[in-house]
């Protein structure tokens, strides 16, 4: 069972080299706007199995982790999401 899902992300690269994710685009082209990035930290995701820069984002009113692993983004799936997926 893999709870790691790589996703498409729209991000802004500013002139100082900062990267801010703006939206996550799911498989079926559903776009989830990121309302706000609350925290940025290097961190591990034991659940998904990966490490990188962790963006704590507010999406649709919920706090979600979005990880930048080198040049790919991933999210942690919930177990029931995994089954549905």
């Amino acid at each position: 069972m893999c709870l790691k899902k790589y996703v498409n992300v729209t991000a802004r690269f500013d002139e100082n080299g900062n990267i801010t994710p703006l939206a996550v685009i799911w498989d079926n082209d559903v776009k989830f706007e990121i309302e706000r990035v609350l925290d940025i930290n290097p961190a591990v995701s034991l659940k998904a199995g990966g490490a990188g820069i962790r963006y704590t984002c507010r999406i649709c009113g919920h706090e979600k982790y979005l990880f930048l692993e080198e040049n790919r983004w991933f999210v942690e799936l919930k177990e029931k999401q995994y089954i549905a997926y």
């Binding site: 069972m1 893999c2 709870l3 930290n41 290097p42 961190a43 591990v44 995701s45 034991l46 659940k47 998904a48 199995g49 990966g50 490490a51 080198e70």
Partner: protein, 413 residues
């Protein structure tokens, strides 16, 4: 003032990184091992569960499987380990710029400027260990001491995920009962020599007069005596002070035993090409060529020779290697692995003394040709241009030592 030095060692590094990325493996015995088909089938590291089955690093995969039939073998992913190694260095660099890597998974840190005594050092070690766990998801063992040698012993003393402090007033209880072989730079051969005169522990080594050790081990005797008594004063290098390169080499275990000179030539060419490319990349020329040969009974030897001129030309290095090989190998047995390295460097910008008997123009052309091929290989991959000899046996020539480059701990000095 007493220095505060930490030695941080990532526990079962390769295996931990693999288990992190594959949650389904975490509760199984796992080992990272080479490719059996390509005859690189040894255990590189194993996780804690596999350790309980007495799986050892360096043993053949079939031996390990006999001890632990459920053992999961995963192939190594060196780029991933290097990424994690860099991430760990980044964590260390938060605490000090004196970070000296020793191989991929170990580092010395001198935190004297932040910590005033070993007790504070212990607190820093706890912080570092926690941070590594949060950011990398793996555990480290840390040794805290007033010199590098004891710090390293400390990180080996208790594993995994542990911190050991070795102080001036307790090192005799902790360090001295350990076997002499645990000390940095006491390998199998030295340990055997020491044991031949009745020195089995670090304490016994520390209490043996230096002149006896010197007569047994040469100048290393005094040094080991120093190490054992905690008198080592070697500084921890600045992180950006990468040590200058002293040799460049590549070696490989062939996918099948090499039976004749043609086989050796193919392997040696691939290796020499990688070595020469690395030389050119670093802007160096070398004068001494060294080959190492291991036969299928695992007997190995090395031979070297000095060339007349400094060179970075693939064909010259390959030819020197082949000459050495022809001179010293008698084909009693077939060959399992072979390596070539060059030392004795100068910068490639210095002017050269030409001589009457060599065609300098031709050499210059060769060098230019090599560089053009390098450019092509950098753009289109190592296999885009190859000499015809490598097409003779693709099984043998189909490896890329430059890319799959292996990692060795650097020397201590």
């Amino acid at each position: 003032m007493e220095r505060v030095i930490l030695h941080s060692d990532c526990n079962s590094f390769y295996a931990s990184v693999e288990c992190l990325h594959r949650p389904d493996l975490r509760d199984k015995p796992v080992a990272v091992g080479g490719d059996v088909e390509a005859r690189h089938g040894i255990i590189l590291t194993k996780n804690q569960i596999a350790k309980k089955f007495n799986v050892k690093t360096g043993e053949a995969i079939w031996q390990a499987k006999q001890k632990c039939p459920e053992l999961v073998i995963v192939p190594p992913d060196f780029p991933l380990y290097m990424r994690f190694s860099k991430m760990a260095h980044k964590v260390y660099l938060n605490y000090t710029d004196k970070v000296e890597p020793f191989g991929l998974d170990e580092c010395w840190l001198d935190i004297s400027s932040n910590a005033h005594n070993l007790k504070e050092g212990f607190e820093f070690a706890k912080k570092i260990s926690r941070q590594i766990k949060c950011e990398l998801g793996i555990t480290v063992s840390i040794g805290v001491s007033y010199n590098k040698v004891f710090a390293k012993l400390g990180s080996d003393y208790k594993k995994p995920d542990a911190i050991t402090v070795i102080k001036k007033d307790n090192f005799k209880e902790i360090v001295w009962p350990l076997p002499a072989g645990d000390l940095l730079y006491v390998g199998k051969a030295t340990a055997r020599k020491l044991s031949s005169i009745g020195i089995h522990t670090i304490g016994e080594l520390a209490n043996t007069p230096t002149n006896i050790l010197n007569s047994l081990l040469g100048k290393w005797g005094g040094l080991l005596h120093c190490f054992a008594n905690g008198l080592d004063t070697t500084p921890v290098c600045q992180y950006d002070n990468q040590p200058t390169v002293k040799s460049i080499g590549n070696s490989t275990t062939a996918p099948r035993d090499l039976e004749n000179e043609e086989d050796v030539k193919i392997i040696l060419f691939v290796l020499a090409d990688s070595v020469a490319r690395r030389l050119r990349e670093q802007g160096l020329k070398a004068k001494t060529v060294c080959i190492s040969v291991r036969d299928n009974q695992l007997y190995s030897f090395t031979r070297q020779r000095t060339l007349n001129r400094y060179t970075n030309i693939t064909s010259e290095i390959e030819r020197a290697g082949m000459e050495l090989f022809r001179k010293y190998y008698n084909w009693n047995k077939s060959i399992r692995s072979i390596g070539i390295s060059v030392t004795d460097f100068v910068s490639d910008t210095i002017s050269v003394q030409t001589d009457l008997f060599s065609n300098e123009l031709k050499r210059e052309k060769k060098e230019k040709l090599d560089r053009s091929v390098d450019n092509l290989k950098n753009r289109f991959g190592s296999y885009c241009v190859q000499p015809a000899i490598l097409l003779a046996d693709r099984e043998l020539s189909g490896f890329d030592p430059k890319k799959e480059h292996t990692i060795h701990p650097e020397g201590y000095f």
